[in-house]
């Protein structure tokens, strides 16, 4: 390398820094002979590709396969007389999204900054210009307005109440079941939405009221004794009885009646033993409160379950079977259900793999490694075949449910590995400090280690969610009519023979927007949560 010494040393003040487009071009495109050649060749290539792409997109491409079937891409074979339900879902989700955005941005002065306004403008313009969205302009623009209004309302709410984030989380949780009900219809009192809202929700409320507001210490303690007696009896009579039955009755030939009496006696004795063991008033009151909670919950749950039938209540939306669900809405439904279910499963598996208990670790490792070793398509396809085989005769879960189970089984294993990486990145000092403050192991994990681990694992977790979203396409070849499956069935129509390119480019664009949006969002959240000192 003699070139360095051949250049004379420059003296005097440093040269002025060159700016402007020409200097930029020189620095970034033509800074060496090789780079100049590369720039010319690549530039020519890019221009050629761009030209052919544009001429394809605007002149040659048969876009009819997209424009004529826009509704199918969005909702599949959903009956058109019920499209309004999809619009309600769309509006609901957009307003919730608006409110969440407003709450997240409650500390910003200006909600509608320039880039946001431009984004709204482009969205509205696209809706107006594109031929396939024009027929539904009122609804789609209205939903866009709802998004904006929701944001304003959310900001106001966020400034007023500190409980707003919890409220909106509850809102999203309930909205999942509302969406499910709107999509599927059926008798309202038989729906999952009714169960969640009126049986579980009211049941929890009743249990809480009964155990915390309506409990009298003395009575509660007596109830606690009763509960302990019951628990002991159940333990003795049923569980011990089931174990001893083969030995005593089948083996030793004891008469059945005598066996029952014996087990009842054992149960009562065990119950009394439990009452005597746990005689502290605090313990008794705790057990009593738990019993009260359970009583309240079960009573309201059962009551609300029986009420509609006894009153003869039957109302609700017409049923739309899952075979008519499809398109983007099914893709999103599958992805969101999969994400919601695989997250807790993945976190528990990661904790299990990190656990000190050998058996738990063994189970977790076996599950994770087995699932990660096989392709998703085999899990999904065989899930459609094998799940009914492993269930009792006549029980065949809905294909959509089976698909969600398959996705969850698969993604949970991968998510567990991401969370494990996060857990391993937390220094041991954190858990030691927590324990020296007196927190027990579960609390240390839940309050100190896990939140930090999840925060570091955000990019990997979102990456996993993105691939779960992409993996929903595999359900298209398993027989569901999600976005890709719907496209394939549209392309089987002889009218669109061979029009693969426009259809696949169109849905490719949809997938791209969602995946890119997710990774962009994750970067924003990452930055917002970044507590490193910089």
């Amino acid at each position: 390398m003699t070139t360095t010494s051949s250049r004379p040393i420059e003296r005097g003040a440093p040269r002025a820094r060159q700016t402007g487009p020409i200097a930029w071009t020189k620095k970034h495109l033509f800074n060496s002979p090789f780079n100049s050649v590369l720039t010319v060749v690549l530039g020519g290539l890019i221009l050629y590709v761009l030209y052919s792409l544009l001429s394809w997109a605007f002149v040659q491409a048969p876009w009819a396969v997209v424009t004529e079937n826009f509704a199918q891409y969005m909702v599949g074979l959903y009956p058109s007389e019920f499209y309004w339900r999809v619009w309600v879902i769309f509006a609901l989700v957009l307003s919730l999204a608006g409110v969440s955005w407003g709450i997240l941005a409650r500390n910003q002065k200006q909600l509608f900054s320039k880039p946001v306004l431009i984004g709204f403008g482009i969205a509205a313009l696209l809706l107006v210009i594109l031929p396939m969205t024009r027929p539904h302009l009122v609804y789609s623009l209205g939903s866009l307005v709802l998004l904006g209004l929701g944001a304003i309302a959310g900001q106001a709410l966020g400034r007023k109440s500190s409980k707003a984030p919890q409220l909106i989380s509850a809102g999203w949780f309930i909205s999942y079941f509302v969406v499910l009900y709107l999509l599927g219809g059926d008798n309202f009192t038989a729906s999952l939405l009714y169960t969640v809202l009126f049986q579980v929700g009211l049941g929890l409320l009743a249990g809480w009221l009964l155990s915390s507001r309506l409990s009298v210490p003395v009575l509660t303690q007596w109830l606690g004794r009763l509960a302990l007696l019951a628990v002991g009896f159940v333990l003795g009579y049923y569980i011990l009885g089931n174990v001893l039955f083969p030995i005593l009755v089948s083996g030793l030939g004891l008469s059945y009646t005598f066996f029952l009496v014996l087990m009842a006696a054992v149960g009562i004795l065990l119950g009394i033993a439990m009452v005597l063991t746990f005689s502290e008033p605090d313990t008794l009151e705790g057990v009593g409160k738990a019993a009260l909670f359970l009583i309240g919950f079960v009573a309201v749950y059962a009551l609300m379950g029986l009420l509609p039938a006894s009153l003869g209540l039957e109302f609700g939306l017409e049923r739309v079977r899952t075979t008519s669900w499809g398109g983007l809405s099914l893709t999103l439904f599958l992805a969101i259900s999969g994400i919601a279910l695989c997250f807790p499963a993945g976190v528990s598996l990661a904790l299990g793999r990190q656990s000190k208990l050998p058996l738990i670790r063994l189970f977790s490792v076996a599950y994770i490694e087995l699932v990660r070793g096989v392709p998703l398509i085999s899990i999904l396809f065989m899930g459609q075949v094998l799940i009914p085989l492993f269930l009792p005769e006549g029980m065949r879960p809905d294909p959509v449910v089976r698909a969600i189970i398959g996705l969850t089984i698969f993604s949970a294993a991968y998510l567990a590995e991401n969370v494990r990486a996060g857990l391993q990145s937390i220094p041991r000092g954190q858990s030691e400090a927590a324990q020296s403050l007196g927190l027990n192991k579960p609390l240390t994990m839940a309050l100190i280690v896990l939140p930090q681990a999840l925060k570091t694992a955000i990019p990997a977790i979102v990456g996993q969610f993105i691939s779960l979203f992409q993996d929903t396409t595999l359900l298209g070849i398993v027989g569901l009519l999600e976005l890709l499956g719907m496209t394939r069935s549209l392309l089987a129509d002889p009218n669109y023979l061979g029009d693969y390119a426009p259809a696949y480019v169109f849905i490719g664009g949809i997938y791209w927007v969602f995946c890119y949006g997710m990774s962009y969002g994750s970067r924003q959240v990452e930055e917002a949560l970044n507590t490193d000192l910089r």
Binding site: L357, V385, E393, C515
Partner: protein, 476 residues
């Protein structure tokens, strides 16, 4: 507990406050729950199977399959058994996986390095490629490449012939692609793949032997279990390698010739053995030369000459012994000779290459970023150009960080190869699925498929781990 307590605690209650008790109790409860779930599920399974009148058995593997496979390298014919179908599928999958791993690595490294180029256009192309490809599902890309690109090529009557009708190098129609290539018999190609697998397995063997050599075992019962495991691995590897290398009769249900047998019974195979010998010889001479130069201070000219002579011989073998030929077009327009590939194979390789390549590019980028800035600056300050600094200083150091994520990316590629069934490529999943549809044996087929993919992934990850150990800093 040194703490003074107000009241003495009775036996049962002290047990309830003992963490160790709860740890054991928790494990027992989980074990019972898992066991109960499994016995419930398998109870249902056996009653369901009984009701359907089938039972769990692999006997169906000997029955004739009776369906055609588009392309296979084992000479499968219509009346051959299901066992042969599955093996043909495994060989087809391996063919897809091996080739795609190589091409995806090349594309990925190129794109990853390009993202550090000081040429703005190249940098942007690399970013756009990664941002576009990573955010679109693989299956969609696969269908796009196959249906929208490769099926759009004209049919045999109007096929593309390049560069001209007289000198044919490339023939493409919507069914096949032909390129110039060595004219090796199918048996030899299969033998090469089997040899690759056998070598990968030997990596596993090496790992276990080292455990014995250095006595890396835990104390007590656990150590003896580990010894047992390592011995079992060695025995299993030896048995499997024996079959991969020396199996020669369809009686042991294997329908391929072992790699060694196939190589020694084909003239081209013998030449391949010659090449391998030459490679080993060059390596040995290189070591000798290095030793002579370091220890005896010789200039090594003589040994260098020997190396060059062997290399020339090897190149001559490569050029003249393998029947390199270009595609020939018959009067009816059919291409033959050279490397022939079906379009479903080409489409699958293309999609897997570009999809995995984008992920590898990001891994390479992260790896290069992890090399400290000082290395760049030092390289530049001793006068290396940007390209040389990357090639000689930075990239080699980034390899260290690269290998663990590459490992999982290769494993992903192996699993993703199963998607090729969507474009009709007869790989393992595709043929297993047809087998299941015809025989109605979901459990058995699923188990076989799972075992194959699991062992393939295990092989990849163990060998990559070995490689990882080799390139890590040796801290002493």
């Amino acid at each position: 507990m040194a703490q003074r307590l107000n009241k003495p605690i009775s036996g049962v209650r002290s047990l309830l406050r003992d963490e160790r008790f709860w740890q054991i109790a928790f494990q027992v409860i989980v074990a019972i729950a898992v066991f109960a779930t499994f016995s419930y599920l398998f109870g249902n399974l056996s009653s369901n199977l009984r009701r359907q009148g089938t039972e769990f058995s692999f006997g169906f593997l000997q029955n004739p399959a009776g369906f055609a496979i588009g392309e296979n390298m084992l000479g499968y014919e219509l009346q051959d058994s299901y066992a042969k179908v599955i093996q043909a599928g495994i060989v087809n999958s391996l063919r897809l996986i091996f080739v795609s791993i190589i091409t995806a690595t090349i594309v990925g490294i190129a794109a990853g390095v390009a993202s550090f180029s000081d040429n703005w256009l190249l940098f942007q192309i690399s970013r756009v490629y990664v941002g576009l490809v990573r955010n679109v599902p693989l299956l969609l890309q696969l269908l796009f490449w196959y249906l929208a690109v490769f099926l759009a090529i004209p049919n045999e009557a109007n096929q593309i012939v390049l560069p001209s009708a007289n000198t044919v190098w490339l023939v493409a129609n919507n069914r096949n692609l032909s390129l110039p290539g060595p004219g090796l018999p199918g048996e030899v190609w299969v033998a090469l793949m089997l040899l690759g697998l056998a070598l990968l397995l030997l990596g596993l063997l090496w790992n276990s032997i080292n455990k014995f050599r250095y006595g890396r075992f835990a104390a007590g019962v656990a150590g003896w279990l580990e010894r047992l495991g390592a011995a079992a691995v060695i025995a299993a590897v030896l048995v499997v390698d024996y079959f991969l290398l020396f199996s020669n009769s369809p009686e042991d249900m294997l329908f391929f010739k072992g790699a060694v047998i196939a190589l020694f019974t084909n003239p081209e195979g013998l030449w391949i053995v010659g090449l391998a010998v030459a490679a080993v010889a060059i390596f040995v001479v290189w070591r000798m030369r290095l030793k002579a130069m370091v220890e005896a201070g010789s200039d090594g000219k003589l040994l260098q000459g020997v190396m060059i002579a062997i290399a020339i011989a090897a190149i001559a073998i490569l050029l003249f012994a393998f029947n390199w030929n270009t595609p020939q077009i018959s009067e009816r327009g059919q291409a033959s000779g050279g490397l022939e590939m079906s379009m479903s194979y080409v489409g699958s390789v293309t999609a897997l290459t570009f999809y995995t390549g984008a992920f590898i590019a990001e891994i390479v980028r992260a790896g290069i970023q992890s090399v400290s800035r000082g290395q760049w600056e030092a390289a530049r300050s001793v006068g290396l150009t940007n390209d040389k600094a990357m090639r000689l200083v930075v990239f080699p150091q980034s390899l260290r960080v690269l290998i663990p994520p590459l490992n999982s990316e290769f494993a992903n590629l192996a699993k993703n190869s199963s998607l090729a069934f969507a474009v009709g490529y007869p790989e393992l999943y595709n043929l297993a699925n047809t087998t299941f549809n015809q025989t109605g044996k979901p459990i058995e087929v699923f188990l076989m498929m799972m075992a194959t993919y699991l062992s393939l992934n295990l092989l990849i990850s163990l060998n990559m781990n070995q490689l990882n150990k080799a390139v890590q800093f040796k801290e002493r």
